[in-house]
Symmetry: C2
């Protein structure tokens, strides 16, 4: 496993690090960041999936998350939001498809199917890296917007892999919103592949949603998730937050709550 | 006083806001940001001066400062680092002179002397805005790198204006480092104008300096400040921090300490 450190900054007695490796799944170099607390017995990890246009850096620069992990044995790891360095058809023409917008799925369309396999990248390759390179064996997953969608899909379909699942402002029903429709049309030959969350979890999923979010409700459709969860007997904790929008200022305000939620589930 | 709100994001129950106004001193539009806690009786302000290449946004996006002001009556205000929208000679050719690099002084050279008056902009116009628009009457000052230099100079020359002064990784002796030499040569006809800090304060100045800072000691010359302070009987608290660099990760780690320091001095 050939993982290179590109940048390392001491932060709250631990380190914030940017890594790069050659992915066997996306067949491209992939970057990810990690915030590693000072602890010498880090044993668990939260996977953070970022939103449209982000790279592996935005979350660790703007969320303030390092503060809340500093006295724990839990790291956070943030993959990039798509493969990079390719020149696929339509890949770099819009902010909501292609580079920076991988949607955490396995593409089946021509060209994309060879590289845009972010679902497998997270659930197989990143998990291997966490186990073999970082020596951690318990995982939770969270994310924002497109990454909130990713966290819900991965957390439900791979339910035994993750101790807990949470999301900020997730794209909750992508089959029925413009972002999701565009992405599924471009990435999937049969968009039924994206239709179902698959399983239910016995634990509650935590969601925070700002009520002044510029993409709420049209792109996010949080209520549809609530309805689907009720029908499927999936417990949800949905906090609607008066006055908050879709930005990192919203994330930074409530990230401590989500970290505490995951730490509680990662104890054993 | 015609101040326009460009952007407002709810953050930790308060607001993070970007403002713009037409400056009488720089004769240009100027932007500044503010983090306003929820309190309805905000009575004091910390002025934050940013480093080279920054705008009014970097600090409020990356420092996590909102967390530490949320239950106080103190706001933080961050001006841009230079006038913008001009086309002066050599103004946009390098990162360390001209736009994004105003050095918090009053320029005397041709062209620059009409606009690059950041010292007066902070000490007169921004203070007026704080008094008249935000209705606060007690001030402290801090900053990073070039902004640490600004905080030291403003905090010593205008010693009665500020309750307390602190700095991260300040350019401590700009007369003798490449950044300062270049700036003073470009902005000042007589660089003796920049020679002296002027006064001493009866209170201690707080400084944090990372020992893995890529600009330490050559550009920062912290020890020269210590020597000068000893000679002038100025009390300094200098914390050298093992392993920390010049980045926002360093700031975000120790900003809480500086906020507490200023809050203590802003009490009365």
């Amino acid at each position: 496993m050939n993982i290179e450190i590109l940048k390392k900054n001491k932060t709250f007695d631990g380190n914030t690090v940017i890594y790069e490796h050659q992915s066997e799944i996306t067949k491209t170099p992939m970057k990810f960041s990690a915030s590693l607390p000072k602890s010498e017995k880090i044993d668990s990890a939260i996977i953070w999936l970022s939103g449209l246009t982000c790279t592996e850096e935005n979350f660790i620069l703007k969320s303030g998350v390092q503060n809340y992990l500093q006295n724990t044995n839990t790291m956070i790891i943030c993959p990039d939001t798509s493969p990079r360095g390719l020149e696929l058809k339509n890949e770099h023409e819009s902010y909501d498809f292609g580079s920076g917008a991988g949607f955490y799925l396995n593409a089946t369309t021509e060209g994309y199917k060879d590289h845009y396999k972010m679902y497998d990248y997270i659930s197989i390759e990143l998990i291997s890296i966490l186990k073999d390179y970082f020596k951690v064996d318990r995982f939770s997953i969270s994310g924002h917007s497109m990454g909130g969608h990713g966290a819900l899909v991965l957390g439900l379909r791979e339910k035994d892999l993750f101790n807990s699942v949470s999301a900020f402002s997730p794209i909750s029903n992508p089959m029925n919103c413009p972002w999701g429709e565009k992405a599924f049309k471009g990435y999937l030959i049969d968009s039924n592949d994206a239709k179902k969350y698959g399983n239910t979890r016995s634990d509650s999923i935590l969601i925070d949603q700002g009520l002044d979010d510029e993409f709420y409700p049209d792109q996010l459709l949080t209520k549809n998730l609530e309805t689907a969860a009720t029908e499927a007997n999936q417990k949800l904790i949905v906090n609607y937050r008066e006055g908050y929008d879709h930005s990192f200022f919203f994330l930074s305000t409530f990230i401590e709550d989500h970290i505490k939620f995951h730490l509680e589930h990662l104890k054993n």
